[in-house]
């Protein structure tokens, strides 16, 4: 954990600099994109997380038709969020709560160590519009806290990507409501990310719940893959370049020329 704390300022040096410059645009990385306005984060999305649309519509609280209507009618002027609230589809507080959940969720993956190099597209904005900007520094700090939290709960990162396999509860063991919903959706094939989509929950929340379940023995903890056997050395006769058989090549050439 100390390593993580020490790295707080180094989640993304580019993001830190853009925040200082009060830049506006899109910070693109392999695992997600952060949208900045005056150096603050106004939106984030990642292919690893269910976006705002899924989070809002999965439970049926907002219909997909209403979401689509908002995108169609207000997308071009980049005020989808405001349209959703003004048209009565969603309460203002609800929108902020869900949008913040989506920002921190996507940022966690976008800023993950394996997310590759960063590019910045200056001036780019997102059609969702302005909801509740978050300081970049708060997002970086929370991202580090989340990494540490996962490992504090149950330090088995393989759980994050492996299919979730439920186990029988011990007699008398408490399984909470949300855990039950997750376990019911875990069919032995779905990964935590797939479960997040199915349940309409943020991907990080699902990772965290799966780690908690594994720590409680309610989900199988995948074994570390056996270390790959050291590649067996190939015999010398396969690897050592042999001098070409010049006499054979000559005879072949002569034969080919003779048959022309």
């Amino acid at each position: 954990m100390t390593a993580g704390t020490a790295a707080t300022g180094a989640v993304s040096p580019l993001l830190t600099r853009l925040a200082e410059e009060r830049a506006t645009g899109a910070l693109l990385r392999d695992r997600g994109t952060l949208f900045l306005e005056d150096g603050r984060i106004v939106h984030a999305e990642s292919p690893a997380t269910p976006g705002l649309e899924i989070l809002l519509t999965a439970g049926g609280g907002l219909t997909r038709e209403r979401w689509r209507e908002a995108v169609d009618r207000a997308g071009a002027r980049r005020e989808v969020a405001r349209f959703l609230v003004d048209s009565g589809g969603l309460a203002g507080g609800e929108l902020e709560i869900c949008h913040l959940a989506a920002i921190f969720d996507a940022a966690f993956f976008a800023l993950s160590p394996g997310s590759g190099p960063s590019r910045f597209r200056r001036g780019a904005t997102h059609w969702i519009g302005s909801v509740r900007p978050v300081p970049a520094e708060a997002v970086e700090r929370e991202t580090v806290r989340r990494r540490e939290l996962l490992d504090a709960v149950w330090p088995y990162p393989l759980l994050d990507t492996a299919p979730v396999v439920p186990r029988e509860a011990a007699p008398g063991q408490t399984v909470t409501l949300r855990q039950r919903a997750l376990l019911r959706a875990a069919d032995g094939v779905r990964t935590p990310a797939a479960l997040a989509w199915a349940l309409g929950r943020p991907a990080f929340h699902t990772l965290l719940d799966v780690r908690r379940l594994a720590a409680a023995g309610l989900v199988e903890t995948p074994r570390e893959p056996a270390p790959a056997p050291a590649p067996a050395a190939l015999p010398a006769w396969m690897t050592q370049a042999q001098p070409p058989d010049v006499a054979l090549l000559r005879r072949l050439r002569d034969a080919l020329e003779a048959s022309l």
Partner: protein, 152 residues
């Protein structure tokens, strides 16, 4: 359109209010904070109150079902095929626990769960001075504020 900040500022208008926050109890993230924190750091307070809220929100003892037959059998953790409807109901049926009150020597803490139209896990936390705070008033006001956050 009352947002998170307006809601927290209104909570701080209560007599004896020292600090308020909107917290996600699943992850321990503070979505918004105002005033002071009892430990001088809102993020620590959010993580700690989240653990308390998670326990209360999740355990069956505090689930609002009055009909014992409607309760799932204890230990029914496995992925039985018949439980899909229950999953949906648990997601959007509103939190069974309304609020949590912790009394300390010097203060009151009121945690009020917020019911949203989508699957979420958030609550309002208000910290009150024991001498100046009015617990009954604060509880009612927090209820109204939690409802105001999701009022269309």
């Amino acid at each position: 359109m009352p947002g998170i900040d307006e809601c927290l500022l209104e909570a701080m208008a209560l007599p004896g209010a020292r600090g308020a926050a909107l917290v996600d109890w699943s992850s321990g993230l503070a979505l918004g904070t105002v005033g002071e924190s009892p430990v001088g750091d809102h993020e620590t307070t959010a993580a700690e109150t989240a653990e308390l809220a998670r326990a209360a929100a999740e355990y069956e003892t505090f689930a609002a079902t009055s009909d014992p037959a409607a309760r799932p059998a204890p230990g029914a953790a496995g992925g039985g095929p018949g439980g899909a409807a229950g999953a949906a109901a648990a997601g959007v049926g509103g939190p069974p626990v309304e609020d949590l009150i912790v009394t300390t020597r010097t203060g009151y803490h009121v945690l009020r769960f917020v019911a949203t139209s989508f699957d979420s896990s958030v609550f309002l936390h208000l910290w009150l001075d024991r001498a100046e705070g009015n617990l009954a008033l604060a509880r009612m006001r927090l209820r109204d504020l939690a409802e105001g956050l999701v009022l269309r």
